[in-house]
């Protein structure tokens, strides 16, 4: 049942017609010369929800966002945003969306106020209204005091906030966030998460790309895991976790000598080659009864344990079991930042 939900291919008509999709994409294909960045991606993002597009670097996340933001033309497939076709009704789509790119795309030489004023004026607001909107957003994002300073003097977190504010000037109903917290320290990251939750509470639909599994887990209502230009799984975070074996068995022997025995026992119990990190042995399990079996077998073998637990699978483990390789291609420092 679970796997049925998980691997359902998005076929027109299969969704309930009552469900309102802010973003709908079918069979997106995009090639850059020899490389195929997107190889038939389907996405369905419900209005008012947060949709997480999760995948490692180079999986095709940014390409998908750029197509949906009308910045890039797809080679095949079609997509609608707010009911408008991104290829033929780009101007209407642009009136509905806000985009925060992968790098804080603010004009560094302008002040915070000027950056927001620029967008407001471009959107056709009278000067007065644009100024009022700029002030309002700076206040919302805790930038009132630094509003008069050039953006190049801002910290990474402030720049990101200004970037997000800039994408909200026109009160978009649909917001694209391409790796919004990449390069932020843990505190700035949590602050940004809170801001995003506020936006969702106000009814904004968010399409979020991230290579941080905990981020998708924390923010998204639904997740599509993307790898090499294909959606390899989608569903709610819980559904994804349920798919790979609802739970993970983790065993750590008290000393290194016990490690081979633990590995052998876990392999036999789960029927899977376990993941070994240092002295920690983990494997996905579908039957909770393996825990007591593990206790018995290891006790009998005389292995002293430092740790033994059955826990919900993390999305890292989900990714591993879906692709056969870890999700993290980013440098180790970044992943440390995340878990810190």
């Amino acid at each position: 049942m679970c796997s049925g939900i998980l691997f359902v291919h998005i076929i027109p008509g299969e969704w309930s017609p009552a469900v309102d999709h802010a973003i709908w994409a079918e069979g997106l294909v995009k090639r850059f010369g020899e490389t195929t960045a997107l190889n038939g991606v389907d996405l369905a993002v419900r209005t008012g929800s947060v949709f997480g597009l999760l995948g490692p670097n180079g999986a095709g996340k940014t390409t998908a966002v750029r197509i949906l933001a009308t910045l890039l033309r797809m080679d095949e497939g079609r997509a609608t945003v707010g009911g408008y076709d991104v290829a033929t009704q780009a101007h209407q789509v642009r009136q509905l969306i806000g985009l925060t790119g992968q790098y804080a795309s603010v004009d560094e030489t302008l002040t915070g106020v000027e950056n927001l004023l620029l967008i407001g004026r471009l959107l056709g607001m009278p000067k007065r209204e644009a100024k009022a909107r700029a002030r309002e957003l700076l206040a919302d994002f805790g930038l009132t005091e630094s509003g008069g300073r050039a953006a190049k003097t801002y910290s990474g977190g402030m720049r990101r906030r200004l970037d997000l504010a800039a994408s909200l000037v026109g009160r978009p109903r649909i917001l694209y966030l391409d790796e919004p917290t990449t390069g932020l320290d843990p505190r700035a990251r949590l602050e940004l998460w809170d801001l995003l939750r506020d936006l969702v509470a106000r009814g904004v639909t968010i399409l979020l790309t991230t290579q941080y599994l905990d981020e998708a887990d924390a923010l998204a209502d639904e997740i599509a895991v993307i790898d090499h230009g294909r959606v390899i799984a989608n569903g709610t975070p819980d559904e994804l976790k349920a798919k790979t074996g609802a739970q993970t068995l983790a065993v750590r022997p008290a000393d290194g000598a016990g490690l081979p025995v633990v590995q052998r026992v876990v392999t036999e119990l789960t029927g899977m080659e376990p993941e070994v990190q240092g002295s920690l042995v983990t494997a996905p399990v579908t039957e909770p009864s393996v825990l007591s079996a593990a206790v018995r077998r290891l006790d009998k073998a005389g292995v002293l344990l430092a740790e033994l637990q059955l826990r919900s699978s993390s999305l890292d483990e989900v990714f591993l079991s879906l692709t056969g390789r870890p999700a993290e291609e980013a440098p180790a420092t970044e992943s440390e930042e995340v878990s810190a």
């Binding site: 008509g13 969704w15 017609p17 009911g83 408008y84 992968q102 790098y103």
Partner: protein, 276 residues
């Protein structure tokens, strides 16, 4: 729900009352807003201001007093000869800011943001070029003021002066497309600068801006005489100092149009390759 294919695919109702396209008037207003932004950037970036304010002044002073005597025996005579060419050289260098600004926008992601807004596709470029015209006007003004203070005398008439300014601005408008192409294709803003020095510097130096072509060895003279920088310098010289201008003026316009016709489509092509 209506029966369009999109509705059948589970898409939502289209939001009503969204504009279908940008009107030309809105496009012009957006370009003006973006031009405003480029001018405000200068206020925050004294480096750039220094580049096109202090540099021209410095060059006029440097060439007049350092080389004037050696080249023409007396610096006053040299100032008369050199100043029109200086206006041309300056104009060419100022166009580099179009490419540099464009490149900064593309590499920093600002361009993506602009393209994701419901604005005219051409507004970001038009804004840049419009701002360039403001910078051009300012830089022409500065060179002329310094020239007049040092004793440059306008031997042509005021109509000639106005025509010279119009020619410089018009040529800049067309030549900007070279800068646009460099801005779109260069990896980063520094490379736009490097282009400026490796291509524009020799091109302006190997012209009749600083020395009369007749003093050069024959082969070099031949090149200098066909260099468009020399041709437009001759035109500006003629307009400011009087004398025959019809020929260089005509060829200046031809060169300007040639730059436009070759580099505008090339830029659009390169732009589509890089951005779309």
């Amino acid at each position: 729900m209506t029966a369009t294919t999109i509705e059948a695919a589970g898409g939502p109702q289209q939001a009503p009352d969204l504009a279908v396209r940008v009107t030309p008037l809105e496009g012009v207003r957006q370009s003006l807003t973006l031009a405003w932004r480029s001018v405000v950037q200068v206020r925050h970036n004294p480096w750039e201001l220094g580049d096109f304010s202090i540099q021209p002044i410095m060059f006029v002073l440097l060439f007049t007093f350092m080389f004037g005597g050696a080249i023409m025996g007396d610096w006053q005579a040299y100032l008369q000869f050199m100043l029109p060419g200086m206006l041309v050289m300056n104009m060419l260098f100022v166009t580099l800011y179009v490419g540099q600004g464009l490149n900064t926008d593309i590499t920093k992601g600002v361009f993506d943001r602009l393209q994701s807004l419901p604005i005219a596709r051409w507004a970001p470029l038009a804004g840049r070029i419009l701002a360039d015209q403001v910078k051009q006007a300012w830089s022409i003004f500065l060179v002329l003021v310094v020239g007049f203070v040092l004793g440059f005398s306008l031997t042509g008439n005021v109509g000639g002066l106005l025509a010279a300014i119009a020619l410089l601005l018009g040529f800049a408008l067309c030549f900007s497309w070279v800068s646009v192409l460099v801005g779109i294709t260069a990896k980063d803003p520094e490379r736009v600068q490097i282009f400026g020095f490796t291509a524009m510097f020799p091109l302006t130096m190997v012209s009749n801006v600083f020395v009369p072509a007749a003093t050069l060895p024959g082969w070099l003279e031949a090149f200098v005489n066909v260099n468009p920088v020399s041709i437009i310098s001759d035109a500006v010289r003629g307009l400011l100092l009087g004398g025959p201008v019809a020929d260089p003026l005509l060829w200046s316009v031809v060169w300007a149009l040639a730059f436009l016709v070759v580099f505008a489509p090339l830029s659009v092509w390169a732009f589509k390759r890089r951005v779309v």
